[in-house]
C-alpha cells in the first residue's frame, strides 16, 4: 500500500512542475475558476478526486455538467484553497483574492448581459458552500444576492410580478441576516 501511495505522490509531484512551466505567466496562486474552466483545472491538479478537492463536490459537478454542454446557470467557484488561505489570514481575504473574484464576476456579467445591482438588467446570484464531501445541512447558503430597493422596483417592472420580487427580497434579508450577521432565524419567523 505504501509503495502505491508513493508512486501516486511521485507521479503528481513529477507533473506539477511541468504544468506550472506551461502556464508560466500565471505563476501565482489562482483562487477562482469559472465553471467553464474545468479543462484548465484538470490540467492543473490531475485527477478527478483532486478536482473535487479543489472545487468541492458541488462545484466540480457543476463544472462537469457545463463541460457536457448541459444547461447549467453560469457561475464561478472560489476554491477550497482560497477558503484555507482566508481562514489562515484571520478570516480576511488575502491580497488579490477578492479582486480575482470580482474579475470572475465581470466575466459572469458579460456572459449573462446582466449586472449586479443594475435596476434595469439586474444579475442575481446565489452563494453556496460546497466541500469535497457532502456535509448535509452543515454549511450555509445565501440566495437572491443582488436585490436592493432600486433593483426590486426594476425587477417588478420587468417581470410584472411584485409578489415574486418581494418574496425573494425578504428571503435575502432573512438568509443574509441569519447566515452572515448571525441573527437567529426565529427572530425573523416571529415577524411573519
Amino acid at each position: 500500500m505504501t509503495s502505491q501511495a508513493t508512486r501516486i505522490l511521485s507521479r503528481a509531484s513529477a507533473k506539477r512542475p511541468a504544468s506550472t512551466t506551461s502556464a508560466s505567466p500565471a505563476k501565482k496562486q489562482r483562487w477562482v475558476y469559472a465553471f467553464g474552466d474545468l479543462p484548465l483545472v484538470i490540467r492543473r491538479v490531475g485527477s478527478w478526486d483532486a478536482v473535487k478537492g479543489l472545487l468541492g463536490g458541488k462545484g466540480a459537478n457543476l463544472a462537469e455538467m457545463t463541460r457536457l454542454s448541459l444547461p447549467v446557470p453560469p457561475g464561478f467557484v472560489l476554491t477550497t484553497e482560497a477558503c484555507n488561505a482566508f481562514l489562515k489570514n484571520g478570516s480576511q481575504f488575502p491580497d488579490g483574492m477578492w479582486e480575482e473574484a470580482l474579475r470572475s464576476l465581470k466575466h459572469l456579467e458579460k456572459k449573462t448581459g446582466l449586472r449586479l445591482g443594475d435596476p434595469q438588467r439586474p444579475l442575481l446570484v446565489s452563494c453556496r458552500s460546497g466541500a469535497k464531501f457532502s456535509m448535509p445541512g452543515m454549511m450555509d447558503t445565501v440566495l437572491d444576492i443582488g436585490l436592493d430597493d432600486a433593483v426590486a422596483d426594476g425587477l417588478v417592472r420587468s417581470t410584472g410580478d411584485e409578489r415574486f420580487v418581494f418574496d425573494a427580497y425578504r428571503r435575502l434579508v432573512q438568509m443574509y441576516g441569519s447566515v452572515v450577521l448571525g441573527i437567529p432565524s426565529e427572530r425573523f419567523e416571529a415577524l411573519l
Binding site: 462537469e64 484555507n84 481562514l87 449586479l116 452563494c127 436585490l147 425578504r170 425573523f188
Partner: protein
C-alpha cells in the same frame, strides 16, 4: 423549512413589501447597522460567511462525527439565480436516474410547479411524482430525461439531480452520485455491468460488505418509512452506527429496559443521553439503542456493534427528561416511557410509532449474480462453521465450499445426550465407560453422516471434543447446595428417607467428580488435545463415528472428504501421539468394513507456541486451521469474556486499542504469529492447506489479511458466507473498494 413558512403562504405583495421593511428593521435593531444595500457588499459578506462557516461549531461537530478531515476547507459557488417560482411555466424538482430504493431502471423524483427548491425538500407542500411532468411540460420532461441519461452514462453511476424550470427553460442545478439502499446498490451495480457501462469487477467493487450485511438484518420497509415521514413521525436523525431495524417500547434507563423486556411480550428500545458500562445489560435486553450524544466511537456505538444490536447515536434533536421518563423532539413532540419507537441503524433515522419491517432476501437474484462475479475474482475459498446438517444446508445455499469447523461438543450438549456424556465422565470402571461410549457412537455417526450427505464431497472438517469436561457437569455451587439441603432433609426426616438417601448418593458422587475435575483455569487446563491424550477412548469413538459414517457414505456411492481436526495443539509430540492413536482407529474401522476412505488429520493453531513451532507440528498435520479467537486470547493474555464485558470498551475509548481484536484480527501481534506459522508450516510441508475458522473468518478486514498471508480458505458462520465471498473478492482486487 424556515423559509418554507412564507414561500408557501399566500401573502399579498403589499404585505411582502412590509415584511422586507420589518426584516431590515430587525437587522438594524440587532446589529446597529443597516442591511447592506450595495449588491457587491452583500456578495462579499456572503462569501466571507460561507468560508467562516467551515470552522463553525456545527461543521466541526459533523466532521468529528463522520471522520472528515478538518483541513479540506469548503469552496464557494457563485451562480446566477434561476427561479422556479417565476410564473406558471416555472417549477423545480429533484430526481434520481433510477429508483434508489429497489434499484429499478426507472427515473424517480418529485417536482412542484411555481416553487423554489426548498419547497420540494422541506415537505411543506405536497410534491408531484416526476412522471406527471410529462403531462405538464412534455418537452421539458423529455429534455430532463435525456440529460439524466447522459449524466448517468457519463458518470457511470446513478445520479441524483436538482433542476429548475424558469419560464419554460430547463436548468440543471446539481448532480451527484445518488445515495441508495443496499438492495438498490446491488441491483444497480449488476444492471450497469450487464449494460456494459461498468465492468463486473467494478460492480463487485461498488458493493460493500455492509450492503450485504443489510440483507441479513431486518430493515424498515421503505413504504412504511415514507408514510411515517409524510405524517411527521421522523423524530430525529443521528449517526448510523450499527445496522438493522429495531422496534420497541421506549425505556429511559437500563434497569427499566431489562425489566420491561423480561416482563412484557413487547420488545424494548433503550433511549439514553449516552451509555456507560453499567448500561450494557439494558442494551442487551433491548432490541436497539438510541442516544442523544456521542459519535462513532462512543460507548453505545462500540457496544452495539460488538453485540450486533441496531443503534443510532448522537440524535441531538432529542432532549431526554429522564426524571419524568419522557423526551421531547425538536418540533416539540413528547414521547413517554412505553411509547413505540422505530429506529433504522443503517440510516440513523428514528421514528415515532411502530413501522413495518422486512427481512431482505439473501437469495435475491441480483445478489446471487453479483456474488457469482465475486467468486470469479477471489482466490480465497469460503467455508462455513456448521455443527448440524441444517447449518450445513444453509451454508451451501449461501455458497460455502466446505465446512471448516464442526464443533462436536454442541452435539454432546443436546438434552437426550447429556446424561450419557455425564455417565461417561463419571464412569468408575472400564465397563461403565465402554457402555456410555457405545451409546454415543451411533448418535455421533448419524450427525456426521448427515453432514457428509449435505456437503456431497466437499470438505468437512470435524473438530474433536475441545472443552474441559466440567462443562458437561452441573454447576458446583448448585450441587453443593443441593447436597447440604438433602442432608438436612434426611436429618429432619423430610420426605421418603430411602428416596432422599438415593438422591443424596447420586448428588454426592456427582459433586465428588466435579471436584476432581475442578481446575483453577479451565480454559488453559485439560481441554483440546490434552483431553484426547488423557481419555483416548473418547476421541477414538469420535474418529470411529467419522470413519464409519464416511465408509457408509462411500457404500451409498456418495462422495466424502472428511478432515479430522485436533484442537489446541502446542507441542508437536502431543499431536504425534494423538494422531497415531486416531489413525490406528481409522485403520481398524476401514479394515472392519472393508472400505477405504481418504481421511486427513490436521490441527488447529490456537496458542502462540504452536505458531512458533509450526515447522515441527506440520510434520504431523496435513492441514492447519487458525482458531483466532483462542489465539487472540492467548497472545494478548486476556480472556474474551472478561474483556468484552469489562475493560475492552475503556481501552477502545482511551485509544489504547483501535479496534476490538476479537472482531478484527490484530494484524501486528496475532497476525505476525500467523505469518510465521504459515511460513514455517509450509517450509516443512509444501503447499500445506491452511485456513481460519474463528469469527474473524467473517470479518472483511481480517479476510483481507488472510488473503495477504496466503491462506487457502476462511471459514465463518453460514450467515456471514455471502459477506466473506465479497470481502475475499475485494481482497483479491487489492482493497479497491468504491464507497458510494
Amino acid at each position: 423549512m424556515r423559509s418554507g413558512v412564507a414561500s408557501d403562504s399566500d401573502l399579498p405583495a403589499g404585505e411582502l413589501r412590509g415584511l422586507v421593511l420589518s426584516f431590515k428593521d430587525e437587522v438594524f435593531r440587532v446589529t446597529k447597522k443597516p442591511f447592506p444595500e450595495a449588491a457587491i457588499d452583500q456578495l462579499r459578506g456572503a462569501v466571507m460567511a460561507v468560508f467562516s462557516s467551515w470552522n463553525g461549531k456545527r461543521a466541526i461537530d459533523y466532521r468529528n462525527a463522520s471522520g472528515i478531515p478538518h483541513d479540506l476547507g469548503t469552496a464557494v459557488n457563485i451562480v446566477k439565480m434561476v427561479y422556479g417560482n417565476l410564473g406558471d411555466r416555472s417549477g423545480t424538482g429533484v430526481a434520481t436516474t433510477r429508483n434508489v430504493t429497489d434499484g429499478e431502471d426507472e427515473p424517480e423524483g418529485d417536482f412542484l410547479m411555481r416553487a423554489q427548491g426548498e419547497d420540494v425538500v422541506s415537505g411543506t407542500r405536497r410534491t408531484r411524482p416526476i412522471a406527471e411532468l410529462r403531462e405538464e411540460m412534455p418537452r421539458i420532461h423529455a429534455q430532463l430525461v435525456r440529460h439524466m441519461k447522459r449524466l448517468e452514462k457519463h458518470c457511470r453511476d446513478v445520479q441524483d439531480v436538482e433542476f429548475t424550470i424558469e419560464n419554460g427553460e430547463l436548468w440543471m442545478l446539481q448532480t451527484r452520485d445518488a445515495k441508495r439502499t443496499a438492495r438498490a446498490a446491488v441491483r444497480i451495480a449488476v444492471d450497469l455491468a450487464d449494460a456494459r457501462r461498468i465492468t463486473r469487477q467494478e460492480a463487485v467493487a461498488r458493493v460493500t460488505p455492509e450492503h450485504i450485511e443489510t440483507f441479513l438484518h431486518p430493515q424498515l420497509e421503505a413504504k412504511s418509512k415514507r408514510a411515517a415521514i409524510d405524517k411527521g413521525l421522523l423524530l430525529a436523525k443521528g449517526l448510523n452506527v450499527s445496522p438493522g431495524a429495531a422496534i420497541g417500547r421506549i425505556a429511559f434507563d437500563a434497569d427499566t429496559a431489562e425489566r420491561m423486556s423480561k416482563a412484557g411480550a413487547d420488545p424494548v428500545v433503550l433511549v439514553r443521553a449516552e451509555t456507560r458500562p453499567d448500561d450494557v445489560h439494558g442494551m442487551l435486553a433491548s432490541a436497539g439503542t438510541v442516544t442523544t450524544r456521542g459519535g462513532r466511537t462512543s460507548h453505545a456505538a462500540l457496544v452495539a456493534r460488538q453485540f450486533g444490536k441496531p443503534a443510532v447515536v448522537g440524535c441531538q434533536d432529542l432532549v431526554i427528561d429522564a426524571e419524568h421518563k419522557r423526551m421531547q423532539t425538536a418540533s416539540g413532540r413528547v414521547l413517554c416511557e412505553g411509547d413505540w419507537l422505530s429506529l433504522d441503524g443503517s440510516t440513523g433515522e428514528v421514528f415515532a410509532g411502530k413501522l413495518a419491517t422486512f427481512v431482505p432476501d439473501v437469495q435475491d437474484p441480483y445478489l446471487t449474480k453479483l456474488l457469482s462475479w465475486a467468486d470469479a475474482i477471489r482466490r480465497l475459498e469460503v467455508w462455513a462453521n456448521a455443527d448440524y446438517g441444517r447449518d450445513a444446508q444453509r451454508a451451501r445455499e449461501f455458497g460455502a465450499q466446505g465446512i471448516g469447523l464442526c464443533r462436536t461438543e454442541h452435539m454432546f450438549f443436546e438434552t437426550d445426550r447429556l446424561p450419557v456424556v455425564q455417565s461417561l465422565i463419571l464412569a468408575k470402571t472400564e465397563g461403565e465407560r465402554r457402555e456410555a461410549l457405545d451409546k454415543l457412537l451411533p448418535m455421533q455417526r448419524a450427525d456426521f453422516a448427515k453432514l457428509f450427505e449435505v456437503m456431497n464431497g466437499l470438505p468437512v472438517t470435524i473438530r474433536l471434543l475441545d472443552p474441559p469436561l466440567h462443562e458437561f457437569l452441573p454447576d458446583r455451587d448448585t450441587l453443593a447446595a443441593e447436597v447440604t439441603d438433602l442432608r438436612a432433609r434426611l436429618r429432619l426426616h423430610d420426605g421418603d428417607p430411602k428416596q432422599v438417601q438415593a438422591t443424596l448418593r447420586d448428588k454426592e458422587a456427582m459433586l465428588q467428580s466435579v471436584d476432581a475435575l475442578r481446575e483453577q483455569n479451565p480454559m488453559l487446563g485439560r481441554r483440546g488435545v490434552r483431553l484426547g491424550i488423557h481419555m483416548p477412548e473418547l476421541v477414538r469413538m469420535q474418529v470411529r463415528a467419522i470413519v464409519e459414517a464416511a465408509c457408509e457414505a462411500v457404500r451409498k456411492k456418495q462422495r466424502v472428504s472428511p478432515k479430522v481436526m485436533i484442537p489446541l495443539t502446542a507441542i508437536s509430540t502431543e499431536l504425534e501421539m494423538e494422531r497415531a492413536v486416531l489413525e490406528d482407529e481409522a485403520r481398524l474401522v476401514m479394515e472392519e468394513l472393508g472400505i477405504r476412505v481418504k481421511v486427513q488429520f490436521g490441527t488447529m493453531i490456537e496458542v502462540p507456541r504452536a505458531a512458533l513451532v509450526a515447522d515441527r507440528i506440520a510434520r504431523h498435520a496435513e492441514f492447519f486451521s487458525f482458531g483466532t479467537n483462542d489465539l487472540t486470547q492467548t497472545t494478548f493474555g486476556i480472556s474474551r469474556d472478561d474483556a468484552e464485558t469489562g475493560f475492552l470498551v475503556e481501552y477502545l475509548q482511551k485509544g489504547i486499542l483501535k479496534t476490538n481484536p476479537f472482531a478484527t484480527l490484530d494484524v501486528s501481534g496475532v497476525g505476525s504469529l500467523m505469518r510465521i506459522c504459515v511460513e514455517r508450516g509450509r517450509a516443512t510441508r509444501e503447499g500445506l492447506h491452511i485456513g481460519i475458522c474463528g469469527e474473524h473468518g467473517g470479518d472483511p478486514k481480517s479476510i483481507a489479511f488472510c488473503h495477504e498471508i496466503g491462506l487457502d480458505y476462511v471459514s465463518c458462520s453460514p450467515f456471514r458466507v455471502p459477506v466473506a465471498r465479497l470481502a475475499a473478492a475485494h481482497a483479491a482486487m487489492g482493497g479497491k473498494v468504491d464507497q458510494r
